[in-house]
Symmetry: C2
């Protein structure tokens, strides 16, 4: 029997590591001297990588490009900015690497995070959780009047992968007017799709602008002053994708002018923002520290997703969450 | 033609008042010298009430009991504690009053409020909105691990009227295990129903305990120390019904012991709680000031709901949201 060597640089706890070791046996797990800092950050170079047939985690791009034996790389994140370059895509195609990510693991928690933001905004939780106003007071009447329902509102999703699809499922009971922005419509979206030329009109109609764009050369600073100016006055902006897709000074100006009623950002550039950054102190900007994908037993979820794909790999079945 | 006299004590703004006046014409609207303080509070006695065929708002119980001509009372709230007594019910039956409330107006916003609480808890928004921790730090790993998904969790709804039904619709995409507690099952709930004898076992299984009970003699202090002790360790308690249904010292003890992971309360007894009340300072108790039903143009929504029922009343059609 030919055993495969599986390299994993993930910072796994004891139970997730046991799950992975047992799950790949009798194939061999290779661990680096120093694992990656988190499920999001690239690990450093490691000599053990050269022996790997399969890599699972966040290896450095150079290590992958130089690997003599690699056949399949599964990333432990949904984002894959470091690998989303013409050079890497060309190498992956030439060397017939399978490249997968962990979208399935993060789609649910990420969609729930942006949904939590939307409902917290509708119910004005930042203000109402801080208020002890009395029933019938002027402040109380004003707070109740600032609250709203998501029902029948208009939302545009920018980027339409696993997170967007799950969010559409979650929003269904609200009978919202949902539009997705994609470079080209495939016809299987289940919602109206707008392409770049139609975007300004779609932004002008949207009460909720949900940015799920990945970070790559095309999307960098996508949300610039022109696009914020195209938004409906009083719209709410959410970012659950990557911070680099937003021109942050333009976002701040839109929040200060009132063009946007509020922003809810799980991602920024850099992360975290420095304490004196004006978005940190803007009263209508709500920040979470890139916790959208997090969930109890996240490492175990990542390992289970890898093992399910590993069983497919062993029998040459199509892998889930394939990106290249 | 016999014109009807419609008494309304609601504190309506100019546009809602115009909508009501136009909507009932050529029937006559009678306004009191002093309207109710809010859509929730009883108004004082008013001599004009005696002439009313129909009352819309929050009249005092005595005024209704003494009215010589009343045929229909529509309350401007979903709750109707003041009227939910054997004496009033007997009088309403004897004098053949129609009594309706405004459940339809509040069901959506109230269900969205408790749903916002559930998602804010799952995504740990009180902690994550306050944290500027760095990706990969110990605090970050801990925060991400405290986050969770609502998918496949267990929820019990106590009270199952319009709010509960709407909440079940909203929760559907999460494929949760949903149970409703009612005094007796009617068979049209669409979810599993437990009656009082089965409640301890149902509480022991629930990750989320949603209290939507109305306040009446049977429900007062329903959530007492025994019922909190029956909850699953780490459960989350939500109250969107009425504060008087909860034994607050028992709730505080359950929050302090860790039996409950957190409480999210839109209603308390009294409202608001005094600033030095221990529930106000408990770090795992999250309070909003009875803003659950609020929404933009709430007064207009109440008037539209009344007018829709008024048109039914005129042709003897069944009224919506009938409670007696």
């Amino acid at each position: 029997m030919n055993t495969l060597k599986i390299f994993s640089d993930l910072p796994l706890g004891a139970s997730a590591l046991a799950l992975l070791t047992d799950g790949v046996a009798p194939h061999e797990l290779i661990l680096p001297a120093r694992p990656a800092v988190s499920v999001l950050a690239a690990s450093g170079p490691d000599p053990a990588f050269a022996g790997a047939d399969i890599a699972f985690g966040q290896p450095a791009v150079d290590a992958v490009l130089q690997s003599p034996r690699l056949r399949w790389l599964q990333l432990a994140s949904a984002g894959f900015t470091r690998f989303d370059t013409p050079e890497f895509r060309a190498a992956a195609a030439r060397r017939r690497w399978l490249v997968t990510n962990s979208s399935s693991v993060y789609a649910g928690p990420c969609a729930e995070q942006v949904f939590a933001f939307m409902l917290a905004q509708a119910r004005q939780l930042p203000l109402t959780l801080a208020s002890r106003c009395a029933n019938g007071s002027d402040q109380w009447n004003q707070l109740r009047n600032q609250c709203s329902s998501l029902a029948h509102q208009n939302v545009i999703l920018l980027g339409f992968g696993a997170i967007g699809r799950r969010l559409v499922e979650l929003l269904r009971p609200f009978e919202m007017d949902i539009t997705a922005f994609r470079r080209s419509a495939r016809g299987d979206e289940g919602v109206a799709v707008v392409t770049p030329g139609q975007l300004p009109a779609a932004l002008a109609a949207a009460d909720h602008v949900v940015n799920i764009l990945p970070d790559n050369a095309e999307s960098r600073l996508f949300f610039n002053a022109d696009r914020f100016a195209a938004c409906k006055p009083g719209a709410v902006f959410y970012n659950i994708g990557r911070g680099a897709t937003v021109d942050q000074p333009a976002l701040l100006a839109a929040l200060q002018s009132g063009r946007l009623a509020a922003a809810w950002l799980d991602v920024t550039d850099p992360e975290p923002l420095p304490p004196d950054h004006p978005l940190v102190s803007a009263p209508n900007c709500h920040l979470t520290p890139h916790t959208a994908g997090g969930h109890r037993n996240e490492a175990e979820s990542l390992v289970r997703h890898f093992l399910a794909n590993f069983r497919r790999f062993l029998v040459d079945a199509p892998l889930r969450d394939r990106i290249m």
